[in-house]
């Protein structure tokens, strides 16, 4: 943010007024991000998610409000605004009211350290990634609070399940960050991105096989931390009637879901930053504004790709069982994450400058896998179209 303000201010401004301009810029940009980006983005993600599921499951999805149902999220918000706000008599009223604040604060605070472009970040904290994993843990407190204060057995179970799940998956998620921190030697989000290049071979995920594995571990662990399918046991509708959110009505219940969709963006942004080169674009122009726009577009595209994959997974996979969830975490992901960390460290001490050949090989392997996958999808699409024509001739 400071470099951006420097380029705007006259060179003569110095001292206190410059410090004030930095502070004002950071806070102003923070307000813009919170009110102008997070809220619409979380809403639009909810609409997009339903559209994506509908497409995958051969349904139509919300298509009435606005073009293609685009304004559905506003309609949903309005509808929740006009509902009665009920607090059960048996509940603990203070904690019941406090829980949404904690949950929303937990995910909004993460956006402070999430970069949007080279110079667009609210505050480039030097402990960036540690800060993000710390504040997103606040959500656990909020969920536990919501579950306990509802005085409802379903909510209680959902809250406790959620807490045990999130804290368990925090271990592999935390360990999977280490390969990246080892490579870049900094915790700052911008520093991690600057350590990579715009070309896929320069991304952290292709440094060695261990970082590629850490990348996959990281995504799985983050999905579990965000209570997403296939790890959405805390809010399992069919067993726990929405879990910790059972007793919440009106706007308060919507705030929990706002946090969930907002968290999706945080997950995508972490993946893009740590492993995929973040906002790095080839230096094609000297124009700062144009470059910033390109960087923002790049970062947003990478982030939204992971948001889309999360939607895709939710539309495809069934939920795991609770014992499978726990053994996956403690018996598989924790050891694998440890091996990844030491593998990366070993590669770094054996070949300190890194091996381009290995990066190219891994990149090629990934490309090969993607092409195979694309052909497979294409084959199945063709097959399903053939059956569609049969259905048209002989309606069932």
């Amino acid at each position: 943010m400071q470099g951006f303000i420097d380029s705007l201010l006259a060179t003569t401004t110095t001292g206190l007024s410059r410090e004030l301009a930095y502070l004002g810029g950071m806070i102003g940009f923070g307000a813009l991000v919170v009110f102008g980006f997070i809220l619409p983005m979380a809403g639009i993600t909810s609409w997009l998610e339903r559209r994506v599921w509908a497409k995958i499951q051969s349904r139509v999805g919300p298509n009435r409000v606005g073009p293609g149902g685009f304004l559905q999220w506003l309609a949903d918000g309005l509808k929740n605004l006009l509902k009665e706000d009920v607090i059960p008599e048996a509940a603990d009223p203070t904690l019941f009211r406090l829980a949404p604040y904690i949950v929303v604060a937990g995910f909004v605070a993460a956006f402070v350290a999430i970069p949007f472009a080279g110079s667009l970040i609210i505050a480039d904290l030097n402990i960036g990634i540690l800060y993000i994993s710390a504040v997103t843990s606040l959500v656990v407190v909020g969920i536990l609070m919501a579950g306990w204060s509802s005085n409802n057995r379903w909510s209680m179970l959902g809250g406790i399940r959620s807490a045990s799940q999130i804290i368990s998956y925090e271990i592999p998620a935390g360990l999977s960050v280490f390969p990246v921190v080892l490579l870049s030697g900094t915790l700052s989000m911008q520093g991690i991105i600057e350590n990579q290049g715009w070309a896929p071979v320069d991304w952290h995920m292709f440094h060695s096989p261990f970082t590629l594995a850490a990348f996959l571990m990281s995504y799985i662990a983050l999905l579990a931390e965000g209570n997403r399918t296939p790890f959405d046991l805390p809010e399992a509708e069919s067993e726990l009637v929405a879990g910790f959110a059972t007793e919440y009505s009106g706007m308060r219940s919507l705030l929990f879901f706002l946090a969930e969709w907002g968290n999706l963006y945080v997950i995508g942004a972490i993946m893009a930053t740590l492993f995929m080169g973040g906002w790095q674009v080839p230096a094609f122009t000297d124009n700062v504004v144009l470059l910033t726009v390109a960087q923002f577009g790049m970062f947003f595209a990478k982030t939204y790709f992971w948001v889309f994959v999360a939607m895709w997974i939710r539309a495809t996979l069934p939920r795991v069982r609770v014992d499978q969830l726990m053994s996956l975490c403690w018996k598989y992901m924790v050891p694998i994450a440890m091996v990844n960390m030491f593998g990366t460290a070993l590669v770094m001490v054996v070949i300190p400058e890194g091996s381009r050949l290995m990066s190219y090989a891994l990149c090629g392997l990934m490309l090969f896998g993607l092409v195979r996958f694309g052909r497979r999808v294409n084959y199945h699409l063709k097959r399903s179209r053939r059956y569609d024509t049969v259905g048209a001739i002989m309606p069932v």
Partner: protein
Amino acid sequence: MSDYIPVFFTLVFAAVIVAVMVSLNRILGPRTEANAIKDAVFECGNEPTGTAWGVRFAIKFYLVALLFIVFDVEVVFMYPWAVIFRELGWFGFVEMMVFMGILVVGYMYAWRKGALEWR
């Protein structure tokens, strides 16, 4: 330190979002008269018996919390090591191997004792 001022302001903004939305809901939403059925907690249509706060939950949740404490403290110790790893080289690698070796012994003990089983 001035980097952390925006963190405070962002938390204030988050609180503003929740406060505004909830109070708008209070103002715009309907208010029907309270009655025993509406104010009861949901229990699949049954009348709720007692409170949920007396429910005892399984010991395995405590085990998970204990394991989490052990591993999370370990992760915190590794952050400074990871940041300066390039300067440390082989020395840092061996040192951390020893540290992790001790931890892995504890991890294997927990595994053999069945603390990782979900029964």
